[in-house]
Symmetry: C2
DNA sequence: CGAGTTACTGGAAACGCTGCCAGTTGGCCG
DNA sequence: CGGCCAACTGGCAGCGTTTCCAGTAACTCG
């Protein structure tokens, strides 16, 4: 069970076995110049034979860089975040960085994360995914001297970031509904109750679009709820209790839309004949449920974020703000209103 | 932008500022005995004021333990894995461990992971999630001297592990279908093409249940496909092309079932009137789509796995194999066959 | 053939911490 | 009042690297 008497070999061991000096062994292994081919060959051979790998801790202690990047996410079991992390991971891994994952699920986690800063001195950089960083938290983060900070999937003007234009995505959704002739459009506004409230471009787009179309907005048609299927379902139930039903629903995300769709159908109404519905994200299940939506490429956001970070770490001159496009995917949940 | 002249404070700085020796400062900060209350107080105060934190690299170099655990997953954007990692993370974090995430998406990633063993010397333990480890890979892993290895979500008799009993879960699903009176039951068998083929308990359960019920199994009723909605959809299409349709479908996972459901409906058939369908997992969307399924508690598997690992790391006497229960959740996709 | 390269090589010092051991107190007992 | 013990304290020696510098050998050129 525990045959731990076998000590891991150190660089000194390898040097001795190869009959060279410490410095030479180090240079040989790292591919630095000033090592004769023969010597290098010998060192590499010995190292290979003994399955030697450098101790990252020792190496990092000396070099000062950790070779690690922290990724902070508020959720993980949601498609969006999994996809994002996959994108980030792929780039980081290729660049030889390790990825330290921190999950700050609720407000308490979040608070303790920024208070304790567990990533302190453990990483060269931090990627914050999908939530805005508050001023106080920002200051704590600054404490991580030298650590670069990059944000993904949310607007954070303070840091270099990659995201989509929520206002534009919302406008595309609303534009589609308006173009179909809808005038009585409801919105299911999704917020994350565990994160501080932020002004949402997706909400702004709703009001702006209505305004531009000279439609007086009816406050009763806007319902705010937490993110999620069940929440979307409940929100829709509320909408269906209205005296005058909307002819279309603009949901802040596909998941919310999924819930709403169920409620609509359970109420005996048809989609899109009685009510149209549109989401945002193009969640994998959107195609399954034939949901019209606004597609965003989440994985690509992850990839670009990681690449941006690498550039920053290399002190390259790089673009510090990238906004990815979104586009409408029409499926079968939207149509012109019946009396339109 | 780069005000990096500010050097991080070292323990020596703190000791000097507090007017104590190096050893005393170290003991004071770590809560070790043999420090007078007054001295400790002073040291803590100075450290606090200067936002000092120990350099984990230096500390670990000396102590030999890294305080990190590697988690290896084949997917991330799938609900199952996100949920699992969330469970693992919550426990690890609380115990003060950091979580290094490795994503081995395809065979190539997987191969290079086990060949390069990037986690080597970087972690105290490894958690392998959701896939079996082959013998050759196992041997590579053993190289990580002293690193504990634990498996979650797949059967790996070689390592301590937490999982569900796939055979039993499958039996529960088949039992339900049989109890409803179905005799012509199809199976959509899902495999991960990127992972080596493994004997699946879920498949075995199918044949066993049929056998126990004295039903001759029809090879045409078993279709094998990759994991995923679209794949389930295609597999179902194949099933629908049969001369004599099945009255029920047993899908290896909810996601596969989702795809199959769409195909069934698109073909103009009704669920469950024309065809019943059951899945396994209780994916969040199962409730949405009213899918009858076998529920497993994935997050709990993650939690238990991490706890088991912590026990191992502490050299506790612990249970080295945990099998979690599963249970049937009847929703609206299963009913007795019409001519039953 | 001597001086000045160039191409390598070895090893000491340092990175920031922890473990250890040898002090240095002060108090207590006989 | 001397000796002894307990309670603290200081600082040295590593941990396994990398970095740097001094050294050696071989080679070139006038």
């Amino acid at each position: 069970m525990d045959s731990e008497q076998e000590r891991e070999l150190t660089l000194a061991d390898i040097a001795r076995l190869a009959g060279v000096g410490l410095g030479t062994a180090s240079r040989a292994l790292r591919g630095l110049p000033n090592v004769s081919p023969a010597t290098r060959q010998k060192v590499l051979e010995v190292a290979e034979r003994h399955d030697y790998v450098v101790s990252p801790d020792a190496s990092q202690l000396k070099k000062g860089a950790t070779g690690r990047v922290a990724v902070v996410v508020p959720h993980l079991s949601r498609w969006f975040f999994g996809e994002m992390v996959e994108g980030i991971e792929s780039v980081l891994r290729q660049a030889g960085y390790d990825l330290l994952l921190y999950h700050v699920g609720n407000l308490q986690d979040r608070q303790s994360f920024f208070e304790l800063l567990p990533a302190r001195r453990k990483v060269d950089a931090v990627i914050v995914v999908g939530f805005p960083v508050e001023e106080a938290e920002r200051q704590r983060l600054e404490l991580m001297l030298g650590a670069q900070i990059v944000a993904a999937g949310g607007q954070h003007e303070v840091y270099p970031h990659v995201c989509i234009d929520d206002l534009k995505a919302g406008s595309q959704a609303m534009g589609h509904l308006l173009a179909l002739g809808h005038r009585r459009i409801a919105m299911i506004e999704a917020i994350d109750p565990e994160q501080p409230r932020q002004p949402s471009g997706r909400s702004a787009a709703y009001h702006m679009a209505l305004n531009d179309a000279d439609i007086e907005s009816d406050p009763a048609l806007v319902v705010t709820t937490a993110w999620g299927i069940e929440q979307g379902s409940t929100a829709m139930a509320h909408l269906l209790s209205l005296a005058e039903l909307p002819t279309a629903v603009y949901a802040h995300s596909d998941e919310v839309a999924f819930g709403a769709m169920r409620t609509i159908r359970d109420a005996g109404l048809r989609i899109p004949e009685d009510i149209s519905i549109i989401g945002i994200d193009d969640h994998p299940h959107a195609a399954l449920l034939h949901l019209t939506t606004i597609k965003q490429d989440v994985r690509r956001q992850g990839v670009l974020t990681a690449q941006m970070l690498l550039g920053l770490l290399r002190h390259d001159e790089i673009e510090r703000s990238i906004t990815l496009g979104t586009h409408l995917i029409v499926r079968r949940t939207t149509a012109s209103p019946r009396n339109g």
